[in-house]
C-alpha cells in the first residue's frame, strides 16, 4: 500500500518494517507483562475477580443493566429536549434582527464556555429543598439532564447554524424568487435540508452526551453506569475488573453510535438527491469532550 508519506515498501523497507514491528511488540509486551504482574501481585487477576461477570447474572441485572438504562435515559432525554431548543437558538442566531442575534449569540457563547460539570452542580443546587424542592431521589437525574440540556442546546445551536450556512446560497435565493417569506424559507426549504446535513454531527453529539452523564455519577450521586463500579467493587472487591467491563460497555455503545454517524455521513455525501452539504462529525467547532468533546468530557 502506498500513501502520501511513503511508497509501497520494497524488499529492504519490508525488512525494516518487520524490525520496527518486532521492537514495538517487545516494548508493548514488556509494558503488558509489567502491568499484568503488578495486577497479579495485588491479586487483581484472580479468577474470582473476573468470573462474576460471566457466572453471576446478578452483577448484570442489579447493577450494570440498570446503570446503563439510566445513562441511556438521561442521554436520550437530554438530546430530545436539547434538539428543538438548539434548533430555535440556532435559527435565532441567524435572525435578521441584530438585537435577537446578539442576545442569542451571548446566551450560546456563555453556555458553551462553561464546563458541563459546573452546569450540573448549579442545577443540582437550584433543585435543592430550599429553592425548588425537587424530590431527592430524582434530583440527581434532573440536575444531570438540565446541565446536559443547557450545554448541548448551545452546541446544537452552533451545529444548526453551521448546517444552514453550509447550504448553497441558491436555495434561499430560489425560495425568495418564488415569493416565500423568511419564515417559510426557513421551515420549508433550509431547515429540512440542514437537518439532513447535520445528522452525522448530531449522532456524534449523542456520544458526547452519553459520556458526560458519567459526571453526574461521580459528583451528584446519579445512579448511572459508571457509578456502579463502587457498588460492584464493594461486593466483589474487583476494582480493576469492574472498571474494565464498564469501559467495554461504554466503548461498545459509543462505538456503535460513531459508526452509525460515519455511515450516515458517507451515505448522505454519496446521495445524488441532496445538495451535497453534509456536516461531518468533526466539522463543528468545539469538539467536546467529553468530551465534552467530540473533545467533550
Amino acid at each position: 500500500m502506498s500513501s502520501v508519506l511513503y511508497d509501497t515498501p520494497g524488499p529492504r523497507a519490508k525488512v525494516r518494517n518487520w524490525i520496527y514491528s518486532g521492537i514495538f511488540v517487545v516494548l508493548f509486551g514488556l509494558v503488558l507483562w509489567w502491568a499484568l504482574s503488578l495486577m497479579a501481585d495485588k491479586g487483581q487477576l484472580d479468577a474470582d475477580k473476573w468470573t462474576p461477570f460471566v457466572t453471576d447474572s446478578q452483577v448484570w441485572t442489579t447493577y450494570l443493566i440498570p446503570g446503563l438504562i439510566e445513562t441511556l435515559k438521561a442521554g436520550a432525554l437530554s438530546m430530545v429536549i436539547a434538539l428543538p431548543l438548539g434548533a430555535a437558538l440556532g435559527i435565532g442566531r441567524l435572525s435578521d434582527h441584530a438585537g435577537v442575534r446578539a442576545a442569542v449569540g451571548a446566551w450560546v457563547e456563555f453556555f458553551r464556555a462553561i464546563p458541563v460539570l459546573m452546569l450540573m452542580l448549579f442545577s443540582s443546587a437550584l433543585f435543592s429543598p430550599q429553592l425548588m424542592d425537587v424530590p431527592s431521589d430524582t434530583r440527581p437525574f434532573w440536575a444531570v439532564v438540565t446541565g446536559l440540556v443547557l450545554y448541548n442546546s448551545a452546541v446544537i445551536a452552533e451545529i444548526v447554524r453551521a448546517g444552514v450556512l453550509s447550504l448553497p446560497k441558491g436555495q434561499a435565493e430560489a425560495a425568495k424568487a418564488i415569493g416565500m417569506r423568511k419564515g417559510q424559507t426557513m421551515t420549508h426549504v433550509l431547515l429540512p435540508q440542514a437537518v439532513t446535513a447535520m445528522l452525522p454531527a448530531l449522532v456524534s453529539q449523542l456520544v458526547v452526551i452519553l459520556k458526560d452523564t458519567a459526571l453526574g455519577g461521580a459528583l451528584l450521586g446519579f445512579a448511572e453506569l459508571l457509578s456502579m463500579n463502587r457498588q460492584i467493587a464493594a461486593n466483589y472487591s474487583n476494582t480493576i475488573a469492574t472498571m474494565f467491563v464498564i469501559a467495554l460497555i461504554y466503548i461498545a455503545v459509543n462505538f456503535t453510535l460513531t459508526t452509525v454517524a460515519s455511515w450516515l455521513e458517507k451515505r448522505l455525501r454519496g446521495s445524488k438527491k441532496s445538495t451535497g452539504a453534509v456536516l461531518g462529525a468533526e466539522e463543528v467547532d468545539d469538539p467536546v469532550p467529553g468530551a465534552n468533546t467530540a473533545a467533550g468530557a
Binding site: Y6, A218, T293, A295
Partner: protein, 224 residues
C-alpha cells in the same frame, strides 16, 4: 450578595490557579502524546498503525470521568502507582494530568491527522524524490505544515481541555469545580452569585485563549 468572597473562607483564585496548572501540564503532555500517536497512525508499519487506530477509537469512546477515576481507583489505590506523588494532593494532581493527557491526546492526534491531509501530495512526493526517509518527510516537511494548518482545531481541543479539567474534581483535586461544589453546599442562599463567579472565571479563561489563538491561526496559516 457577593460577601462570601470577602469572608476569606474560600480561595477562589487558588482553585482557578490549580485549573490553569492542570490545563497547562495536560496541554503540553497531550500535544506530545498526540504527535506520537499521529506518527504511529500514518507510519508505514501496519502494527503501529493498528495500535494508533485502536487506541484512538477505544479512548475517544470512553468517558473522561472513567479514565480519570480509573487512574485514581485502579492505578493509585489498587495497584499503588502514585507517579512519585508524596501527598494525597500531589498524587491526585498527577493522576488527573495523566488521565487528561491519555484522553486529550486522541483529539490532538485526530486534529493533526486532518492537518496532514491538507498538505499537497506533491510535497511529500518531492521530498521522497530527494531521498528523505519517512521520518524525515514527516518531521521536516509534513508536520510543520500540518501544525500551522490545525491551530484552529487545536484551539478547540485546548478550550475543551480547559473545561474538562473540572473532571479532576471527581478524584478530589482542589480545582475550580470542587470549590464551586463546596460553596454551593455552604452558601445555599447565594446559588446564583456563586455560579456567576465560577462562570465568569471560565469565560475569562477560555475567551482570551480562543481570541488569541484565532488570531495566531490566521497569521500562521499556509496560504495555498
Amino acid at each position: 450578595m457577593f460577601d462570601f468572597l470577602d469572608s476569606g473562607q474560600y480561595d477562589v483564585l487558588g482553585a482557578f490557579w490549580v485549573t490553569v496548572q492542570l490545563t497547562l501540564y495536560s496541554a503540553v503532555g497531550s500535544l506530545i502524546w498526540g504527535t506520537v500517536l499521529v506518527g504511529m497512525r500514518v507510519s508505514p508499519v501496519p502494527l503501529l498503525r493498528g495500535f494508533g487506530t485502536a487506541y484512538v477509537n477505544l479512548v475517544r469512546n470512553t468517558p473522561l470521568t472513567l479514565v480519570v477515576i480509573g487512574c485514581s481507583l485502579g492505578l493509585s489505590q489498587t495497584l499503588g502507582i502514585n507517579l512519585g506523588g508524596e501527598t494525597f494532593k500531589e498524587t491526585g494532581f498527577r493522576l488527573a494530568v495523566l488521565g487528561l493527557i491519555a484522553y486529550t491526546g486522541t483529539f490532538v492526534c485526530e486534529a493533526l491527522r486532518s492537518g496532514i491531509n491538507t498538505v499537497p501530495v506533491g510535497q511529500a512526493e518531492a521530498a521522497r524524490a530527494l531521498g528523505l526517509s519517512f521520518f524525515q518527510v514527516l518531521t521536516l516537511i509534513v508536520l510543520p505544515q500540518a501544525f500551522r494548518a490545525v491551530v484552529a482545531p487545536l484551539t478547540n481541543v485546548l478550550i475543551a481541555l480547559t473545561k474538562n479539567t473540572t473532571v479532576a474534581a471527581t478524584i478530589g483535586v482542589a480545582e475550580a469545580a470542587l470549590l464551586m461544589k463546596e460553596m454551593l453546599e455552604n452558601e445555599a442562599q447565594a446559588v446564583f452569585a456563586v455560579f456567576a463567579v465560577f462562570a465568569l472565571g471560565f469565560v475569562l479563561l477560555t475567551l482570551p485563549t480562543g481570541l488569541l489563538l484565532g488570531w495566531v491561526a490566521k497569521r500562521v496559516a499556509v496560504k495555498r
